[in-house]
Symmetry: D3
Subunit: 172 residues, 6 copies
């Protein structure tokens, strides 16, 4: 039995993440999805709560033939203990998946195997692109799995994001 | 669709918790299991990490016909914001299950419906009884679901608990 | 112009505190009431929120001929910076009033004048006595100023305290 | 009896804030002034301590015929619990005043009535304008109530702000 | 070159610690002394600041033929990341010395070699004995190296400890 | 006996710092080197852990005829208590050395003597220059004492810094 670990902020969980999970599913029996910056919400960078992101992931993965564990990971603001923190919050895993150079560095210093994928970079860029479209009122539904769009609609997510986007410009 | 929320520390997840979940399963379609004090571990009161407790719960509930979400909840050490914190970490829920007077008070002040059960008290007492037996080297396996015992064996959980129990007496 | 500083948890603000304020009022022109452990609430030791304690103090002092500033002081859990923290949260003051040996020690190490009063000890003991009576359903109204009793009634404070008191006995 | 809540950082309390308070005074009997980012000080964005800001507000409002409560609110760095935190620190209020989209969003998600005013935007912009003038040695006294200028003079506030402004450029 | 790590709270650094260091000195070339609970001070359990404890250790070890590094370690209140935290604060070390069961457990789970000594228990007990004598006004000087007594005298340490000891009894 | 205090982040300890220490050595008998932002590591701004920086400083100063204490200082994110925090972590000092306007302001408000030097500015600028060269693969060894280069080589510091530098560009 092999268990993988895949970390992201999932703001929101989009097609790029979904393709990654499908690719990883071919290599592992079970997959932990670490929901990073779990305590953050209601900002342009992190609009959705951890609970909302658990819903997105659970619903999007319901038909995938893979045991998955969505696990919120709160920030400790201290890179040197990050791997220990992740390990204490997550079921044990054998291999981590990431293309983020900091994440790779931290896992490797701790002796954890990391696998990369060309797909990651594209996926990362899509995160801010999706939020940008949400703010601008452009089409974002085609970039996320259908159940994710339902969750976002239920929580009035677009209005929330559009509002907090206006906050950033008049702080004074 | 009704979703319930059931909070506990699950140190470890034992038969008392399991009977509660089975009882709740008759009233709800989905159940969030909030894993309290998620950041605590390696003490007599809280020997297991959040990740280990997720494993216990997931394996113990695999055959139950109920959608469950085990969600670690880190302490914020501030009762006045506890309900908001729980809500942000958890999928939305309609009703909370607890017999703990503080939890009931906090949920009710926040306008959340709480249901109690006579079973809770017994279940709470069992938590420390199980840990006591583990420390004393007595039979504890009969008090937890079989998959939980497997998880505890895999992580050498009894040795860990017995060791930290000796720490409490010589603080210096 | 002399401004004094008087720290307490005010759980609740009672007649002992009130007599102290009246005594201090003879020595200063203005008085800051530092509300300690401002983040704590819903426990036997600290049942009321900072906001509720501000209400108690404000209403109890409305007829006193003294400019008062009730200022919540959150705990930093670090004695060595406590005086700096208090000073940053409070209007400047010339003299501190306390009979608590730790508070006296910290202020004196920081070069702040501290004045003591025989009245303090009695007042401190009254705090837990008032909460004990509230829990036991005995008369507590005679121990607090009338406007404080009104605030406690409005927020259903007795029920809250009685409930959380039951939590302490079954933690498991 | 209606009590309002008006949140700001008040760095410093200026004429824009003052006009807002006067406008709100026509709608409420009592007003809580929440002093945001209460733990921050000695930066270009937040030069004054919470205690200094309490002094500014208290002195500026002494002649206004309105019961006011200046209440420091420390940041919890977690939007999802912000409303609960504010409520625990503040006397109960019936309506919040803000033009900040994030604040509006958070209060509305929590079911609190929010009133906006065209005046807010102008007032927010004035905050950084006042600090800019202080740094550049230009006239800032005409932008704040006279008692606020006295507080700032007493604490050598201009020198402090000018110094910390120089820190931002050589961090190295 | 072998570097050891020896953790303690050193409240204060006493003859029991000193004998341990002398024993360890025969096995290692360099020794890190981790000063635990570095942020705590002014309590009966932890009367001295980290800076004061650095002074005690440095002066007591000045004549020992061993390279030593006294390193304050602040508590993170999270056992699962404690080893990573210690490692990030300390120069790299090859072996840890401890008789504390929790410390041993945490280091061993992280794959760090731990050496124990019969001497430890005695040393740990001496810590509270020294503080007890200080509080009671009995002889404590014979239990600590002479330079440690000098540091304690310079900072009026006995008065501080005696005062905070009185605080514990009237919390109210 | 005069003891000085010199604060820096020492990311890494370089020739500019070294010249400063040599200059200060002419004025004091002992010197505390406060290692700021001690909890930060693995970022472009703060690549090295506190433990690694202690090693750099200790090895670089081994031949200097001056008693030195390298002391990690974790951030408290609160300027108003920073001086108290520093004082609690450090052996007592008589004079602080800094050219940073914020540091000077905070020490002066707390009544601590601060000495400046024209050398500081140049030294501060060198910090980011050294890291820039490390990232770009240019010569950095000539800018740091030889023992510092050895420490950085031992911990594969250049690879770490180059990797985390790539993280900053694809956050999404």
């Amino acid at each position: 039995m092999t268990r993988g670990f895949y970390i992201g902020r999932f703001q929101p969980y989009h097609e790029g993440h979904h393709r990654m999970v499908e690719e990883i599913a071919e290599e592992v029996d079970e997959l932990v999805l670490g929901i990073g910056s779990a305590g953050d919400s209601h900002t342009v960078h992190d609009p959705f709560t951890a609970g909302e992101r658990i819903m997105m992931i659970t619903k999007a993965l319901v038909d995938l033939d893979l045991v998955t564990y969505p696990v919120p990971i709160e920030d400790l603001e201290r890179n040197s203990v990050w791997v220990s923190h992740v390990r204490s919050m997550s079921p044990r895993f054998d291999v981590a998946y990431s293309n983020n150079p900091l994440v790779i560095q931290l896992f490797e210093e701790a002796g954890v195997e990391v696998r990369q994928s060309d797909m990651f970079n594209r996926e990362e860029l899509e995160g801010s692109a999706v939020r940008e479209r949400m703010i601008e009122g452009e089409d974002w539904r085609s970039l996320v799995p259908a159940p994710v769009a339902e969750v976002i609609d239920e929580i009035d997510g677009i209005q929330r994001l559009q509002r907090v986007a206006r906050s950033d410009t008049n702080d004074g």
